[in-house]
């Protein structure tokens, strides 16, 4: 039990002293989760809009599929991405294994269903007259997409925050694809796993708290955005 309190203390030491190893893991985490979020948003927002806006045969089935993918196990994603980018896999020559972009690819796959499903729900829940209004006022297809997403911005922000949380705290993909290489692909979560394996429970707690602090910072900026996006 005492390692919890020790960990809290150690978290302050790490943050205060800007510990180089911790800093490297923080940087890796922020970089890789931002990149994966960028990819999943750029792909997921239009897909989510499409899924929420249009009516087409088989839409229910697609929704169910996307909702199922919300529970995609990170280890499965890690294995699939590994199979693709391994030297003997089809994308091997790109040299993505044991790199941050490699992890980002996996995390983007993890985040994509979250972004698509929640965006679709946000768009679906918009007033039916929204589309009539936007088009009546002269919106073309792209403007319709952007304005609808902007109208649904609070729902979409929630989607992004949820996806970011999933991406930042996952360990399966980072471990499998990134390899937990010190100074390179060691993220906060793989560092926590390592420290825990080493029996350094206090250090694990400390790093966990640092991760929580990053999440806190992200959410603070989101709520700032929210207030100013009115």
């Amino acid at each position: 039990m005492e390692f919890i309190f020790e960990g809290i203390l150690q978290a302050f030491v790490l943050l205060w002293g800007a510990d180089a190893e911790t800093l490297s893991a923080v940087t890796a985490t922020v970089k890789v989760s931002s990149a994966s979020m960028a990819v999943s948003l750029v792909l997921g927002l239009p897909l989510g809009f499409w899924l929420g806006y249009h009516r087409f045969p088989g839409k229910r089935a697609v929704r169910t599929l996307v909702d199922t993918l919300l529970s995609l196990p990170t280890v499965l994603v890690g294995l699939i991405v590994y199979a693709l980018i391994s030297q003997r896999g089809p994308l091997g020559p790109m040299g993505l294994l044991f790199t941050l972009p490699g992890i980002a690819v996996g995390q983007a796959i993890l985040a994509l269903p979250v972004v698509v499903a929640l965006t679709a729900t946000a768009v679906e829940s918009m007033d039916r007259q929204l589309s009539v209004t936007l088009r009546s006022l002269g919106a073309d297809r792209r403007q319709l997409l952007l304005s609808t997403l902007w109208e649904a911005r609070f729902g979409i922000l929630a989607a992004a925050v949820t996806a970011y949380g999933r991406v930042m705290t996952e360990v399966g993909i980072s471990m499998m694809v990134g390899g937990n290489i010190k100074w390179h692909t060691r993220t906060m979560t793989t560092a926590i796993a390592l420290e825990t394996n080493k029996g350094m429970f206090a250090m694990g707690v400390a790093l966990g708290l640092v991760l929580l602090a990053i999440a806190f910072a992200v959410n603070i900026s989101v709520s700032f955005l929210r207030r100013h996006a009115r």
Partner: protein, 277 residues
């Protein structure tokens, strides 16, 4: 940027981040190694690798994982060199043509630990006798159960007793976790387990030198844990950096590497014994 296009602005920012991430993957003389958790967890690599880089100018990156996965990474040409400790699996790996130049570099040893009260009375016995006693008394025994080098070693010990390898027996607990967690489970259940000495030393230190589980069986020849360096087969893996891998293997087996290994101490105790031929 107009308020009408917040998403575009968003995308632009993240595209920059993406470039930054991609740009950080710089290439130089880099050797990629897969190794087992024990070499990483004990701090041996943190101690050895900077010395190697200073001597050779080669950057060595390693991913620490179970022996099974390490060998799989080698088989898939995802790493250039392996530092592992599961001799039968290694021999098969080389025989199957996945690796070349298997070179023994060092060993540490395993110990069997258990509660001081020693309910199965195994203290001081040979491994064969000790495990047979555990089986007979149906005392709790925790196992990694993860096909790691340590787990394979443990299975070899059970095989050596002549009886079947325990699997579903109620007293046989397979944790599927790392060594330290497995020791902790054994301590919680007041049972026995087999561990490498390095992890036990850390465990001992975590409990200020007075842990609930004590070393009961040690020194038996069968408990020796041999580490080897293997280079992946360049005829299968065109991109493997065989030259760099050879440099590393020679350095490890050479005078300097061997001396550093022998000097490596954890809590004032030597963990690995160099034994390159």
């Amino acid at each position: 940027m107009s308020r009408r296009f917040p998403i575009l602005g968003f995308a632009a920012v993240f595209a920059l981040v993406l470039l930054a991430v991609a740009g950080s993957a710089h290439a130089q003389q880099t050797l990629m190694m897969a190794t087992t958790t024990s070499t990483d967890d004990t701090g041996l690599l943190d101690y050895l690798v900077p010395e190697f880089t200073r001597d050779s100018g080669i950057e060595l990156k390693w991913t620490a994982t179970g022996t099974g996965k390490a060998l799989k990474l080698g088989e898939n040409c995802d790493v250039d060199v392996l530092l592992v400790h599961a001799p039968p699996a290694e021999q098969k790996f080389v025989a199957d043509g996945f690796g070349i130049n298997r070179r023994q570099v060092m060993y540490n040893d395993f110990v069997i630990i258990g509660p001081a009260a020693d309910p199965a009375a195994i203290k001081g016995k040979s491994v064969r006798e000790a495990l047979s006693a555990v089986r007979e008394k149906q005392s709790i025994f925790t196992s990694r159960g993860d096909k790691s080098g340590t787990h394979q070693q443990e299975m070899a010990l059970w095989r050596d007793t002549g009886g079947p390898i325990p699997e579903k027996e109620p007293w046989y607990v397979q944790t599927g976790q790392g060594m330290l967690n497995t020791i902790n489970v054994a301590a919680e259940r007041n049972g026995y387990t087999m561990t490498d000495r390095g992890t036990y030393i850390k465990y001992e230190a975590n409990h200020q030198g007075n842990p609930p589980l004590k070393i009961l069986v040690e020194g038996d020849q069968i408990l020796l844990n041999q580490y080897s360096v293997i280079t992946v087969n360049p005829t299968r893996c065109a991109n493997a950096k065989v030259d760099l891998a050879d440099t590393f293997a020679q350095w490890m087996a050479g005078e300097r590497g061997q001396k550093l290994i022998g000097d490596f101490k954890l809590l004032d105790k030597q963990l690995f014994t160099p034994n390159a031929q």
